[in-house]
């Protein structure tokens, strides 16, 4: 490896239990955060931020939430789009109906509403699991689709059904430019990711993983499956709800219910599968993959086709994208069910011996 990781002996449990026990990892994360907060806004173009980085940040947050539920607690969900929708629409209602409501509290309140919705539609998990639970979460998804389409109160009685927000600001600083949006999303992501990481390595995280691995044995140790599952739904839907608020307010600006349909739920699940179930880092990998891939394909495929003297319509590109997604899902499930995150840690393991074994 390029640096030595061994020789760092911990003398207290606290040192062993911290988030990044190896010093080099701590430095790496610090550098990454500095890069993200300082270097990127200076160097990245507006287009890069609007089209790639901002959706990446928000989707990472949403994928984080989904990973807590699916990867850590083992409860499959196909309704995450609905949680994002609830977070978005309720934040909208708080923002628009209460004069002077600041942005951040509106988003957090939207998240809390998503929590309530999530706990309600998480109740079936106490009775069923696997495919049956997936069907129950689909019920949440379709119900939410209908709710925001037909119940006019949610959309502030807008006749077309679509709503918009403008004039966003935090502590007086406007969130209009690409850079301000990027920094805002980054800040929210870092804070929530830290809280999530804390939860996941604490007692509640172990409860979630125990339920995932063997819920009968968990009950015998004294873990209450009801509390564990519902808390997973609650925490997960809060994070997803806040992400939904960000997606609507910061990225879309104006939206209608179709923006949060079942297709979004599938994409989030795919992010988590490809990125790595049960890993905070996996959410980032998966989101990066799913956000960047279509853009990459849109550029690369027509070029590739051009090499063979053929043209490729955008429709054709989207078809190939579908096939690639599907193929990759299957490939990952067969080859590395723990996703990119596992490939990453395996890569690091190999790098410890190559090129310079210590």
């Amino acid at each position: 490896m390029f640096y030595r990781e061994n020789g760092q002996f911990k003398t207290s449990y606290r040192a062993d239990q911290q988030i990044f026990p190896i010093a080099q990892d701590r430095w790496l994360i610090l550098a990454l955060i500095a890069l993200a907060f300082i270097a990127v806004p200076l160097m990245a173009s507006d287009y890069m931020m609007r089209a790639i980085l901002i959706p990446f940040l928000i989707m990472s947050l949403a994928a984080l939430g989904v990973n807590i539920l699916v990867g850590y607690c083992g409860q499959i969900t196909l309704g995450s789009g609905a949680f994002m929708a609830v977070g978005a629409y309720m934040a909208y209602n708080f923002f628009v109906r209460i004069p002077g409501m600041p942005l951040v509290p509106a988003l957090l309140l939207g998240g809390l509403c998503a929590t309530a919705f999530g706990v309600l539609f998480g109740l079936p998990s106490l009775r069923v699991k696997g495919l049956y639970l997936a069907v129950a979460t689909l019920a949440a998804q379709f119900f939410s689709d209908w709710m925001f389409l037909r119940i006019k109160w949610f959309v502030n009685d807008s006749p077309s059904g679509s709503v918009s927000v403008n004039n966003l600001q935090v502590f007086g600083l406007p969130i209009e430019s690409a850079m301000s949006k990027y920094l805002f999303c980054l800040a929210v992501l870092v804070v929530l990711a830290l809280l999530a990481k804390n939860l996941v390595r604490s007692a509640i995280g172990r409860e979630w993983m125990a339920i995932r691995d063997m819920d009968v044995a968990a009950a015998v140790i004294g873990i209450r499956p009801m509390y564990a599952k519902l808390s997973a739904f609650a925490v997960s839907s809060f994070i997803i709800g806040v992400a939904g608020g960000l997606w609507a307010f910061v990225y879309l600006g104006a939206w209608e219910p179709a923006a949060f349909g079942v297709d979004l739920s599938f994409r989030l699940l795919f992010m988590v599968i490809i990125g790595g179930l049960g890993s905070i880092m996996g959410a980032f990998f998966g989101a990066a993959f799913i956000v960047v891939l279509p853009i990459f394909l849109n550029q690369a495929l027509p070029e590739l086709a051009g090499l063979f003297g053929m043209t490729m319509s955008t429709a054709a590109v989207s078809h190939v994208e579908l096939m690639l997604f599907g193929g990759l899902i299957v490939w990952f499930l067969i080859v590395e069910p723990h996703g990119l995150a596992r490939l990453w840690s395996i890569g690091k393991q190999k790098l410890r011996l190559w090129p310079f074994p210590h």
Partner: protein, 309 residues
């Protein structure tokens, strides 16, 4: 009253169409324990194949007879479904033997996306027509009892009969043949079936092929009625509640579940819809399934699932 009957019959007919798709789910689950999310995509893929082949065959072979063209197209589409089944077994199922259900479910999600993309690449993404000679005329029944009569679609009646035939054939297959028995063994326990010498790989190809043919029939009927278009994949999502209601392992359950959901959707839309702003159809089936999940997860006719410590 006549209106109620019409709604009811309309619901039954719609439900029959759901049942056809649900049949495919039940078949694969019964025989391999895999829940095939890709069934809807298979219906669309098969329907696309049928539609395009019936268009292309006359130009390839230069024949004029519609029936002959359709028969050849059917055979070609069937063969294609066999290839699909074989590929799925080879590339996906073989590598995921004995993984938990959730992994397999997600793999079928991946297959869904893949088939979607492949179908549109191979066959195009416009709306295509299927014409297999189904009568399109509406018929008025019971004109003596109700003034004006009750409007029934002949096409739907034909579809119902075909579906009934298909179900009967499948039931016979499962119960009376040795292959059917092998399929049921595999559904129960992959490893045990393997250890007594049942060739898992071939069984799976057979099962997915049979499900593919079911998908083809369903696709033809749906496509003949609505035209072959992308929205057929949302069919899969609509058929899911049907298998929950009927029970994942029950063929009659798929039929009855489909009928219940079809009727329920139509009736609730007409009679409950106006109170809550309409559009109930989106979630009615799912909420009904949800209720069942809470109180009777195995559905009306399914087997009870027991967990041993």
């Amino acid at each position: 009253m006549a209106f109620f009957l019409e709604t009811l019959l309309g619901g039954l007919m719609a439900g029959m169409l759901y049942s056809l798709v649900a049949l495919g789910f039940v078949l694969i689950f019964k025989a391999s324990g895999v829940f095939n999310f890709a069934q809807g995509a298979m219906v669309l893929f098969a329907a696309l194949a049928m539609a395009r082949f019936s268009e292309w065959v006359p130009t390839w072979i230069g024949i004029d007879n519609l029936i002959l063209a359709n028969v050849i197209a059917f055979a070609l589409a069937g063969a294609l479904m066999w290839v699909v089944a074989w590929l799925i077994e080879r590339l996906v199922l073989r590598h995921l033997v004995n993984q938990e259900g959730v992994t397999l479910l997600m793999a079928t999600l991946g297959i869904t996306y893949f088939l979607d993309g492949l179908g549109q690449t191979l066959f195009g993404s416009n709306i295509y027509a299927i014409n297999v000679g189904m009568p399109k005329d509406p018929v008025f029944l019971l004109e003596s009892t109700f003034p004006g009569g009750v409007l029934v679609n002949l096409e739907d009646v034909y579809a119902a009969c075909i579906a009934a035939l298909l179900v009967a054939a499948l039931s016979l297959f499962f119960q009376k043949t040795s292959t059917g028995r092998a399929l049921r063994a595999v559904a129960d326990d992959h490893q045990a079936a393997q250890s007594i010498g049942i060739p898992l790989n071939r069984i799976w190809v057979i099962v997915w092929f049979v499900a593919g043919v079911t998908a083809l029939v369903a696709g033809i009927i749906w496509g003949s009625k609505l035209g072959v278009q992308f929205s057929l994949t949302t069919l899969a999502l609509r058929a899911l509640p049907v298998v929950i209601l009927g029970g994942l392992t029950s063929v009659p359950g798929a039929i009855i579940g489909g009928l219940i959901i079809g009727v329920g959707e139509k009736l609730s839309e007409v009679y409950l819809g106006p109170f809550v702003g309409g559009g109930i159809e989106i979630w009615f089936a799912y909420v009904l399934a949800l209720v069942f999940l809470l109180f009777r997860p195995q559905g009306l006719f399914g087997e009870k699932i027991i967990d041993r410590v």
